[in-house]
Amino acid sequence: MTNFFSNRQRVKGAAAQNLLKDIWRNRWLYIFVIPGVFYFLIFKYIPMGGVVIAFKDYTPFLGIVESQWVGWKHFERLFQNNDFVMLFRNTILISLYKLLFYFPVPIILALMLNEVRLKVFKRFVQTVIYIPHFFSWVVVAGITYVLLTTEGGIVNEFIMWAGGEKINFLGQNAWIRTLLTSQTIWREAGWGTILYLAAMSAVDPQLYEAAKIDGAGRFRQMWNVTLPCIRSTIVILLILQIGNFMDLGFEQIYNMINAGNKDYGNVFDTYVYTIGIKEGQFSYSTAIGLFKSVIGLILVLGSNYLARRSGEEGIF
């Protein structure tokens, strides 16, 4: 008996020793991964845990742990608030606009670029259309202001010249969603072509030859060869886009909204900033943020599920 136990212990000891040996042999990998793991724990997972303050009355003196639990109070307040309908409507509409009007543009642009035979011209166009991506949202807002202002902006001057009346593009509810969508198209469409072009460059040229022999013109080749070949890329990017449905980006919108257009332009991100950071209602604004994150999670999991159901790879 005693012999048996000591044997087992010896085996266990040997396994542990092997493990230690293994870790020692790969010690640099473990050292390398430690800062990254700590980074994600501290700056991503602690804030995830921090969402509990949405269910508490957070006060800075008491801290997260000591603050009083209040259940769904903040969510009830949110859902009863008139602002909620406005925020929800604005977020959904701006996101839908982007899905409808922005998402197809990089695909079409990439298809066009893919048909260019002159390498130099193609590279030139690519260089130019990537540039707007390097402008910050503040700069994009600045350019928008300069072009659209009623005080000598080129667009309004043109409208006047054509016999129309000045339009207050910048300070009016009616225009904010159009402005935001256009800005996104202008800044990101060129950049968005990179992945599609990469996918297109992997298409087998024989497929085009075969299509041509079958009498397919350029449009038919695009429709029946190029597009089906990049379908998985399109699906992945569509899932990512839908996953970001609730994330419209604080910077772009905050730099564009003002007293005149905030009824149509205010979204969850900008509202959380105003209520949370500016007014210091941490628990209430965290509840809004949590609501937003949960909807986002459901959307990305849902679209990924649908993609897999329809035979695509999905992102996970």
């Binding site: 700056f43 048909e115 503040v138 300069v146 300070g171 730099n255 003002n258 999991l301």
Partner: protein, 288 residues
């Protein structure tokens, strides 16, 4: 050679023309801002649209650089961009390298933790409270450390490292390299194109970042150029009642010059790295 029929040729012509128009749409607004920044206030008032100013004037730039505020904020932006990008590259590359190697136990679990952060986050307020609790408010750490690793870039970089042949690591090991030496002497030189790409991505993010300095740096003395840019643009925008009429409105050319000054540094870097980045993005994403 391809036979080009009439429909083929008209297709090409229309395609090229459209692409030229699109290129102009992308670049003209900015070119107009650049030109306008060199024009005199008078010419701007009269002509509205200036692509080649009749009289060159450096007044706007002289005005910007006559005061310490903007030059100083530029230096701060450079500082944040350089330090932040170094932190990004070091953190991202060592983590990606470790996660790409088989020797590390639990790497699937760690990868899951990282991918999950792409799906769900605590939101602005809990993140703000963490930075606050760590005592980072009003320090430059607050705008660099909370963004030290982009999960997305990390995944791309890991895919790139995994595409390197396993034999490479084995032969390095036989030659007596440990992982640190392998990483520094073999892997880094092999991944310069991809590193340059990530460097550009990260640098652009730091240079253009408005939200984090806005949240975490409360003293105007510490502000990078993007925040001042916003101040100047908003101050100059009299269309709204929100900001009161008491603020003096700077001239149109001053706004334009500030935009140029805040954008130029990053545009100067872009051409040098452009030839790398399409390759860099592709390498990382093909296995995606």
């Amino acid at each position: 050679m391809r036979k080009s029929g009439l429909s083929d040729r008209s297709f090409d012509t229309i395609n090229v023309l459209l692409l030229i128009v699109i290129s102009l749409i992308c670049i003209l607004p900015f070119l107009q801002i650049v030109a306008g920044s060199f024009a005199t206030q008078q010419e701007l008032m009269e002509k509205k649209f200036v692509l080649i100013p009749e009289v060159y004037s450096l007044d706007a730039y002289r005005f910007i650089f006559s005061d310490i505020t903007i030059p100083k904020s530029m230096m701060i932006s450079v500082f944040i961009t350089v330090c932040g990008t170094i932190i990004n590259l070091v953190f991202t590359s060592i983590t990606a390298f470790a996660l790409a190697r088989r020797g590390l136990r639990g790497r699937r679990f760690i990868m899951f933790l990282i991918v999950f952060t792409l799906l769900f986050d605590g939101g602005m307020i809990p993140a703000y409270l963490v930075v606050k609790e760590l005592g980072l408010i009003n320090t430059y750490w607050a705008v660099m450390i909370p963004n030290a690793i982009s999960a997305f870039n990390l995944i791309l970089m890991r895919n790139f490292f995994m595409s390197l042949p396993e034999e490479l690591f084995e032969s390095a090991k036989i030659d007596g390299c440990n992982d640190l030496k392998t990483f520094i002497q073999i892997v880094i030189p092999l991944s310069m194109a991809s590193m340059a790409t990530f460097m550009l991505f990260y640098a652009v993010n730091h240079w253009n970042n408005f939200m984090m300095p806005f949240l975490y740096l409360n003293t105007p003395d510490m502000w990078p150029v993007q925040i001042w840019l916003r101040q100047i643009i908003i101050m100059a925008t009299a269309d709204f009642g929100d900001f009161g009429a008491s603020i003096e409105i700077p001239s149109q050319s001053l706004r334009m010059a500030t935009i140029v000054v805040a954008t130029l540094p990053i545009l100067l870097v872009y051409p040098f790295i452009q030839k790398h980045f399409v390759k860099g993005v592709m390498i990382g994403s093909v296995k995606g």
